[in-house]
């Protein structure tokens, strides 16, 4: 196999020819070699159109998930039961806004503006993680989201720190560092409830019962039904299959649940010595597809709030742009 450097030489030679097909082939060879050699693709590099659009779709969906994901937790900021918990929750929801920003920035390096992406979110043309279409009914849900939802997200995201696209990988490094605070605060919150009064313990168990299965769905459909998986793995946008990551997550959670003193709501969950993994029950994929289609408990509410915030903020964004325009104009005159 030729080295990346040799491919680059070939590409430089192809640049000199008028044969467009030869040029594209040479560029593609450089790209493929870079991916194969675990080099990072950077914004100004040539990349196949499908690679670009896959990344935009994935990064946008990820960014949207962060900002829609603020809502179920922000739902409890004003009711947090201690000042310490309130500070933690505010900092966490703030981080999610920050993560959304990092990710929109990464998407913008691919030539798609944030306004464009937000518009697609607001009009239902791009998706966000279905998990955020479930409601937060009690304070314990804040803990369950931290432990299970953020835990699943981390399992998904850690491999993305080595994603082939540089800006996405760098955003993920930053995000993963911050997410580990999120997961730990959730675990600690649940632990306090589990070891608290009987009512608190029950609240924690109820939350885990409701969030466990949707968390497992966060890894996406089974490998044989996943539309984009194979190509994404080849491009090293994805590093592990959905089912692989889901299994990893289950194996991690079982002992953590034991330490919490809480039960995972799956009677079929048990250690399989032969496989060296836990077996677990069948996931209700009908529910998954229904929620994805828009029939989850909160789909409409989440988008409506997002749109409302955006629309009600329009005059603020216009004012700041107008002010900047006036300053630029008067600076121009002064010169």
């Amino acid at each position: 196999m030729a080295t990346a450097a040799e491919h680059r030489t070939a590409r430089a030679q192809a640049d000199g020819t008028a044969d467009e097909a030869a040029r594209t082939a040479a560029y593609e060879a450089v790209f493929d070699a870079a991916v194969a050699a675990d080099e990072r693709i950077e914004p100004r590099d040539w990349m196949p159109d499908a690679y670009r659009s896959t990344l935009v779709r994935q990064i946008a969906q990820h960014a949207h998930s962060e900002i829609i994901g603020m809502q179920p937790e922000a739902n409890w900021i004003t009711r947090a039961p201690s000042l310490r918990r309130k500070a933690i929750l505010m900092a966490k929801v703030q981080d999610e806004a920050g993560h959304g920003l990092y990710l929109y920035s990464a998407a913008e390096t691919l030539g798609t503006s944030r306004d464009e992406l937000l518009d697609k979110l607001h009009t239902g043309r791009q998706k966000y993680s279905s998990i955020f279409n479930y409601p937060t009914l009690t304070w314990a849900d804040v803990g369950a989201i931290g432990w299970l939802v953020d835990g699943a997200a981390i399992t998904n995201q850690v491999p993305l720190c080595r994603c082939s696209y540089g800006p996405y990988a760098r955003a993920m490094v930053r995000i993963c560092k911050e997410e580990s605070f999120h997961q730990r605060q959730g675990y600690e919150l649940l632990l306090a409830l589990s070891r608290g009064t009987p009512e608190q313990h029950e609240m924690a168990q109820d939350a885990v019962n409701r969030w466990w299965w949707p968390s497992l769905m966060m890894f996406g459909p089974p490998d044989d039904e996943s539309a984009h998986s194979a190509q994404s793995m080849a491009w090293k946008i994805k590093r592990h299959s959905n089912d692989e990551l889901r299994q990893r997550f289950v194996d991690i959670c079982v002992p953590q649940a034991e330490s919490l003193g809480l039960t995972l709501p799956d009677p079929e969950l048990k250690w399989n010595e032969e496989r060296g993994h836990h077996d677990f029950g069948a996931i209700d994929w009908t529910e998954f597809w229904e929620v994805l289609k828009g029939n989850g408990p909160c789909n409409e509410q989440r988008i409506a709030q997002r749109r409302q915030a955006h629309e009600e903020g329009a005059w603020v964004r216009e004012a700041a742009a107008a002010y900047a325009g006036k300053r630029a104009a008067s600076n121009g005159e002064a010169r």
Binding site: L83, R85, Q94
Partner: protein, 239 residues
């Protein structure tokens, strides 16, 4: 209730920070632009940090925050005012952070019980004031709509600005000087933002010093009901 003697001042300053932090927390997920989600949360977190130190000087922070009745809160009426639109929130920030910065600078320079806290908090508050000023300029001198909204907000909240200078027992500053500096500072920002300094009264007919005496406005009771509900539903529980 374990409120130690001589804690009036800690409660007044602590409740200001606690209540304003709560109001800013209500913006989460609803800010006009993502960057402001982060900024407003930063300010809310600074204030909550201050509140926790101050309330702890007066007793147990959670007992004080969650188990007092409305009439026992000593915060200014200004900070409990509902968020309204972004112009109202920014105006509330401008009025309060200017006051807080001046007050904390005085406290930091002294050697009273609040000096250590104030020395640290005044840096945070300088940033809050800067944030409020930047937005006051942009909204005041932005579009016709933003100017109108900002003017309305400045006027609506003006009546809550006199109570800030009602002396607080245990806070040893020259309140008259503080008020003069505040008026100068706020007026200068408003003028730069092409806004008129409101002409209406700076206090209601019976409200001078009201918040400090435990007299609040109606929205405050609902705010407390939401804030305290969960904690009160589980007496004695730890979280």
């Amino acid at each position: 209730m374990t409120v130690t003697a001589g804690s009036t001042a800690a409660l007044a300053l602590g409740d200001d920070a606690l209540v304003l932090s709560h109001r800013l927390g209500e913006w989460a997920g609803k800010a006009p632009v993502l960057e402001e989600e982060v900024a407003l949360a930063n300010i809310a977190l600074d204030l909550l940090g201050q509140a926790r130190v101050l309330l702890s000087m007066a007793g147990d922070e959670d007992e004080l925050a969650y188990l007092r009745e409305e009439r026992d809160f000593r915060n200014l009426q200004l900070v409990e005012q509902p968020n309204g639109d972004f112009a109202h929130t920014i105006t509330r920030q401008l009025y309060f952070s200017t006051y807080q910065r001046l007050l904390y600078a005085e406290l930091a320079a002294g050697d009273g019980q609040f000096a250590p806290l104030a020395a640290k908090a005044v840096k945070e508050v300088a940033y809050h004031q800067d944030h409020a000023e930047q937005w006051t300029l942009r909204l005041g001198d932005g579009t016709a709509e933003s100017h109108r909204r900002m003017r309305e907000a400045c006027e609506a909240l003006w009546r809550y600005t006199a109570e800030m200078f009602h002396p607080v027992e245990g806070v040893d500053v020259n309140w008259k000087d503080l008020e003069t500096s505040w008026l100068e500072s706020v007026s200068a920002v408003l003028r730069r933002a092409t806004l008129d300094v409101p002409e209406g009264p700076r206090s209601g007919a019976w409200t001078a010093g009201a918040g400090r005496q435990g007299l609040h406005t109606e929205p405050f009771g609902r705010m407390l009901a939401e804030m305290q509900h969960l904690h009160r539903s589980h007496p004695g529980a730890s979280w």
